[in-house]
Symmetry: C2
Subunit: 162 residues, 2 copies
């Protein structure tokens, strides 16, 4: 299946792009038109491009993903009319580690302070080199999904204990 | 706005394609990935093509519509994994009346017995020729939206009075 996506996701301990082999940097803004436990429809603006993306969960790690580029004008209209909340904003660093690419997302706005790294794998148990900036694995922790962060941003997480 | 859609919708009294100027006939199968009062994400299979469509309501008649063709394999996977119910199935006749095109939908399956005609207009009050097969206007009746028929099909409407 071409559309199956296997990802593992980790917190980043000390984000220092100067120490990383950065291939490219992207500005990302994304929101959700619909979300439920099993599927989501996402609108994403990455640099100058807009995408409509459908994700369907299979298990915790494996998901079907379908992404379609859409015109800029459609993207801007949908951000204006079809979203329930302001978008998530993040800067994505594509980082090379031992010939594997990591996506390191540095979040802004209501998710400021959160830095996460993702790697795409060909199978759930594929081995990979673990760089020293890699922290706790959060692949199975639903709070670290962008869909969750959209409704319950990172900066709100400790508010009940303050 | 290119994506605004103004439609009026009517029941069809006596469907007789022999008496109509039929331009083309299409087999349509459609389901919904998500629906709420203000927006929907629809998957449609029309003849050999698949489309992902987003509709956002403005008022009763005016809606934004964004439709994107998607690969056949994606369409079939999404019908299999991302739908909550079996699709709506209908045959669409494109009919010409006084230089205007009508879409006449003959529903099958759980919506058997329902025949509806739609016309797209440039403005809410644009005049148009009304053919003799046109019945009650149902533009504002939410029950006749495909999204409603998907969850509450036509053949179930009178079941409580039987």
């Amino acid at each position: 299946m071409d559309n199956l996506e296997i990802e593992r996701k980790f917190l980043v301990e000390r984000f220092d792009p100067e120490r990383m082999e950065v291939k490219s940097i992207h500005q990302i803004r994304q929101g959700y038109m619909f979300l439920d436990a099993n599927k989501e429809v996402r609108l994403r603006n990455k640099n100058d491009n807009y995408y409509l993306t459908v994700k369907v969960n299979q298990t915790g790690i494996v998901r079907e993903e379908y992404e379609y580029p859409i015109p800029v004008a459609d993207g801007e209209s949908l951000f204006a009319s079809a979203m329930e909340r302001p978008p998530i904003e993040k800067t994505r660093y594509i980082v090379s580690v031992s010939n594997k690419e990591w996506s390191v997302d540095v979040f802004h706005g209501d998710n400021q302070g959160l830095v996460m790294a993702e790697i795409e794998l060909d199978s759930v148990d594929e081995p990979f080199a673990s760089p020293d900036w890699l922290g706790l694995e959060v692949t199975e922790d639903r709070r670290y999904r962008n869909a969750y962060l959209y409704h319950t941003p990172f900066t709100s997480w400790n508010s009940e204990s303050e």
